[in-house]
């Protein structure tokens, strides 16, 4: 296999990472009363969920840019 080629599906850790972030992104693990303290106006649990949402955006954006490279070199060479 050509070492320069990167395809996200072949990298298990990408999907494990994604699964962990998604698991953190849904508030199933909070106990009922975790509304306070408020952070930046968010109830505590919602603030954590919001942070995970930002992390999800950052992670997927980063994976797109760095872990995906199949025909890029070839296409760039053609230009």
């Amino acid at each position: 296999m050509n070492k320069n080629i990167k395809e996200p599906i072949r990298k298990k850790w990408i999907w494990i990472g994604l699964l962990l972030i998604v698991l953190g992104n849904v508030p199933w693990y909070f106990s009922k009363g975790l509304v306070e303290p408020y952070i930046l106006g968010f109830p505590f649990w919602a603030f954590i969920i919001f942070l995970f949402s930002i992390l999800l955006c950052a992670y997927l954006s980063w994976v797109c840019l760095t872990q995906w490279r199949i025909v890029e070199d070839e296409e760039e060479a053609e230009n």
Binding site: V26, S53, V71
Partner: protein, 503 residues
């Protein structure tokens, strides 16, 4: 959306300007490009040559419609902080793209695919799969288009304070859309998306600014107020809501990424670099759109407490009226904002229509009715049937359904059943056509039956997901039982191994 007291004539002026800009962009996109009307790829995929700016904005403006604002702000209002899910379910779409877009892009370029069906036919070579997939995709697209047509009318007549009645509003914008799409195909759609997307973004940002200003500038006060008046909306959601949240992530993620117009944007990318750069930017867009809209809904809980059901659907209009009353600057910003909503709806509708036409041109007409026809003729058939379909859907749109969100979930239920064939087929050589066909059919039947019998969700899980689970089971189980050896189809072998594509 209720009547906006601030709009009227000024609204008409802004809408007219927007419509003219769209027409001019459409005209220049099509001018001097003979290829657009002579080839399927030219008309439907802008010859697979969309650069970063056009591709990013067409992904953006297509995925985020006016409904994302007008329908989601009330959802946040009704459900409270658990509507934070709208950020994640729009982001996860990029994660699902990463499952299949990299390889599909390479194969599609090599094989000159025009529609998603081209891939399915190439992979399975089964008439049954092709026909069922076309049916499911046309159903999904038709429903989606219908929803946009309903929304255009509501937005325009709301914005002009009823000066332009609902029906006239829809017809006017449909004609504008048909005109620029006729002239420039995908190129016109993508270039108008640039303008439409920018207006929408500016509008949302100013809208939230106005909302925060009205609420007194302190978000903590808003949350405290909600906790005192409606504690359930700031409380940790109960288990069923969380299950539903997971289910939403799966349904929207799989459904939205597999939409024919979404898949065709993969085909239309100029290069892999352009595509991945666009996706990388798209991953951030939920924060700027559904995230900000979420804030609007939450702020609305303080500004307009106690709205129920259909009343809450008016939230964006109510708030815009208040914001417009702050000062003349915000007045004009709100008019541009509502123009932006209309533009956003049109930008989604045009892409859906183009995709609908392409399925007719390339798949129904080109594969079954008259395969020998010239590409010019195929394009023409797609264009004309597209127009007929629009007017058929308009006829239905005159009787708009109550809540926008309800129909949003409905369209995914069936469409998502194409997913196993589409994505498993990319990687798993053993996947054979019979189980795929039955998986698709039975999955769609289960999803449809659950929805129509009023079981849209079971324990918080969407009917579409239950159907999809069955679908996957049949595909995988059936393929294991059906074949003992891995197929040795040479073309497939080549496709499946992305590396060999470099040869």
């Amino acid at each position: 959306m209720g009547e906006l007291t601030f709009a009227g004539m000024d609204g008409i002026i802004i809408l007219t300007v927007f419509a003219l800009i769209m027409l001019v962009i459409g005209y220049f996109s099509g001018r001097g490009e003979k290829n657009i009307h002579e080839s399927l790829s030219g008309y439907y995929l802008a010859s697979g040559n969309l650069g970063f700016i056009a591709l990013f904005f067409t992904l953006f403006a297509t995925q985020y419609s006016g409904n994302t604002i007008v329908g989601y702000a009330p959802s946040a209002y009704r459900t409270g902080f658990s509507w934070l899910q709208s950020i994640s379910f729009m982001t996860i779409i990029i994660g699902v793209y990463l499952l299949f877009a990299p390889r599909l892009y390479v194969i599609a370029k090599k094989r000159n695919f025009v529609t998603p069906t081209d891939w399915l036919q190439h992979r399975f070579n089964s008439k049954g799969i092709t026909i069922v997939a076309i049916f499911l995709m046309l159903w999904g697209l038709g429903n989606y288009l219908l929803e946009q047509l309903v929304a255009i009318g509501q937005a325009v007549s709301g914005m002009t304070g009823g000066t332009i009645p609902y029906q006239v509003a829809v017809i006017a914008f449909v004609l504008v859309m048909l005109a620029y799409e006729w002239m420039g195909g995908m190129k016109a759609v993508a270039f108008t998306d640039v303008m439409q997307g920018i207006v929408l973004l500016i509008g949302i940002i100013f809208f939230v600014t106005g909302g925060v200003y009205l609420a007194g500038g302190n978000f903590s006060d808003v949350t405290r107020f909600i906790t005192e008046t409606e504690p359930a909306k700031t409380a940790v959601p109960p288990m069923e809501v969380n299950i539903n949240w997971f289910s939403m992530l799966v349904l929207v993620g799989l459904g939205a990424s597999i939409y024919p117009h979404a898949v065709q944007r993969i085909y239309a990318a100029k290069s892999e670099k352009t595509l991945k750069k666009s996706f990388a930017r798209m991953a951030w867009m939920p924060l700027l759109t559904t995230g900000l809209v979420f804030f609007v809904g939450i702020i609305g809980l303080k500004l307009f407490p106690g709205l129920e059901g259909n009343e809450s659907e008016q939230l964006v209009g109510l708030m815009a009226n208040k914001i417009a009353a702050i000062n003349p600057f915000f007045y004009w910003i709100m008019i541009v904002f509502f123009g932006g909503i209309v533009a956003a709806i049109v930008s989604t509708a045009d892409s859906v229509l183009l995709s609908f036409s392409s399925l007719i041109s390339n798949d129904v007409y080109g594969k079954f009715i008259n395969p020998g026809a010239t590409e010019h003729k195929k394009v023409m058939v797609g264009k004309i049937i597209g127009i007929i379909a629009i007017f058929g859907l308009l006829w239905i749109a005159w009787y708009p359904p109550g809540t926008l969100y309800e129909i949003f979930v409905l369209k995914f239920e069936l469409l998502v059943q194409v997913f196993p064939a589409f994505v498993l087929g990319l990687y798993w050589k053993r996947l054979t056509s019979k189980p795929v066909l039955w998986g698709m059919i039975l999955g769609a039947i289960v999803a449809g039956m659950l929805t129509f019998t009023g079981h849209k969700t079971v324990f918080g899980i969407h009917g579409g997901i239950i159907g999809l689970a069955l679908n996957f089971l049949i595909c995988i189980g059936g393929s294991y039982l059906a074949s003992t050896s891995v197929s040795k189809n040479k073309i497939l072998e080549e496709d499946m191994n992305a590396v060999s594509l470099k040869a």
